[in-house]
Amino acid sequence: MTLEIKELTGGYGQVSVLKKETFTVEDGQVVGLIGLNGAGKSTTIKHIIGLLTPRGGQILIDGMSLHDNVEAYRKKIAYVPEMPILYPELTLKEHIEMTIMAYGLDHDKTWENANELLKTFRLDNKLDWFPQNFSKGMKQKVMIVCAFMTNARLFIIDEPFTGLDPLAVNDLLNIVEAKKKSGCSVLMSTHVLATVQNHADKFVLLNHGQVRADGTLDQLKDKFDMKDANLDDIYIKMSNEDL
């Protein structure tokens, strides 16, 4: 699965948040999308999943745009939003059932996956709970379970590490690793640089709606001319460039 973003321009209303943004996510790659608040991370994600329509440029998943085939495009993506969004009137179990129906998945096989995920996140005894009974972190876990039990090939996770307990963060990273091994791609936006530094293959540094730099940590070090730097140092250097 490859995601290509070519010269993407767009945003909300008349304001262009993104200006000719270009990067790719290759087969089996985990990519970290990094930038300050307001740099355009979430906006980029909203364009990819099709909540916003680009003003210019292209977004292709395996060479196919949303416009070509809405349903096929959407089946390739699973998304975990920053703020969990659940249906207040469905129980946890019914959210899973509904996701199975919506994506037309195989019922029994998917439940097998789901059960494993539920157990991992210690939700397996809460199948009959309503969202109003869940804490924020638990809602986030529900979203993760619903996303990762699908057959999507591209997983988009918006700021996964805040709100989850350390154990859950670890579990999530293991799941991401497993998905990566099976050839799926993962794009995650985050501010938790230390974690993403160890778990992503590639980083896209956004600043003012543009890609300031992208590549592996070594490539970034070269670009910023900082030999022993870690992601944090590079990030701060990039932020200071404005001043």
Binding site: L86, Y87, E89, E97, M98, T99, M101
Partner: protein, 409 residues
Amino acid sequence: MKELWKNRLRRHQIDQFKYLRLIFNDNFVLAFIVLIGALGFWYSNFLGTIKHELLLGKPVVILILFLIAQVGRIATLLEEPDSTFLLVKEKEFYQYFKSALNYSIALPVVAIVIVNFLLSPFAFTGAGLSIMDICLIAAGLVFFKLAFLNVEMFKIYGREQVSGMNLKLLLNIFLIVSLIISVYWFSPVILVVGLIAFVGAQINNKKICESGQMQWQQAISDENQRMFRVKRFYNLFTDVPGVNSKIKRRKWLDFVFNGIKPVQKNTYLYLFARGFVRNNEYIGLFMRLTIIQTIMLALIDNFYISLIVEMLFIYLVGFQLKPYFKEVMLNMMQRLYPVSGKDKVNDFTKLSVFVLCIQWVISAIAIFYKFGLSVNSLVIIVAGLAVLLFVGYFYMPRQLKKYLDNGAY
């Protein structure tokens, strides 16, 4: 704090005014005026049939007056962020609540006066009360209501209990006892008891409140509940944003969902059906309208009015279900599901037709009860079916499709 209250009140009134304007612009108000007219007509006819005091006259008066004294809460206009941003101002909130209390008096008092006024002819003939009795009881009720509002203010400060007894419950017991004494034997009793309760509460208000601790969480959730009830009422007539409603599991109704096959095109039927059953707002709306309709059909024996009631209420339920579709469509996740808009509309139409069919069958029973097996009842029932089919297969799909096409869903 006074300023804060004034600001809030102004904003609140503008909001209320906006909704009231929307309601009174609506065509349905005309229909409701017809209904109120019909009820008034029925009431005056009914009064005409009363020649002497009824056996149930006094208990009915007591019940109605007791219920009307429960109407109206203190409108604190507290908002969620207050518990974070205004925590430091806690001491000064007393003045704020005082203003809130004063503001909240008007509506229940008006309600008590109007109900007493409307009830007076019946109380006079059916329950054998004199005009003097009725006036004294009304005044007593007003004082009781003032005492109730004071108690609600105590509750904000966590002082609604007196040595283990809930003050509101205690007051209600006093109310019902003095109502019974006043209606049956000696009417000034309620005025005296009410006055004592009110003066006692009013004088000690500050002392009691200051001895307590403000219960932010509780007060805010009470106010949210109150607002929700008001908005739900508006919601019967027009769309109100931000009405988020209570969810109940209702496991015993799960059998209803058995008919829904778990295939992709039923994805939304799966959701809609569960939402309808569990979301108090929608099932409540359906129940309220169906029950009112059934009662009216069972009481009114005028063919034309029954015809209008049957058709109007089926249309109303269909019409009022529409916001539920919109609510679900606002959930972002639904846009990501690989399900076509056509399936969503179809699924919602299926739910509406099912719901309306239930209503239609229930109303048909009421019609048969009133009109028997006659041409009249058949005409009414067929007219109801026609409205059902119109709403389900013509009006609803078109409206929903329009909604989907307009938004970029």
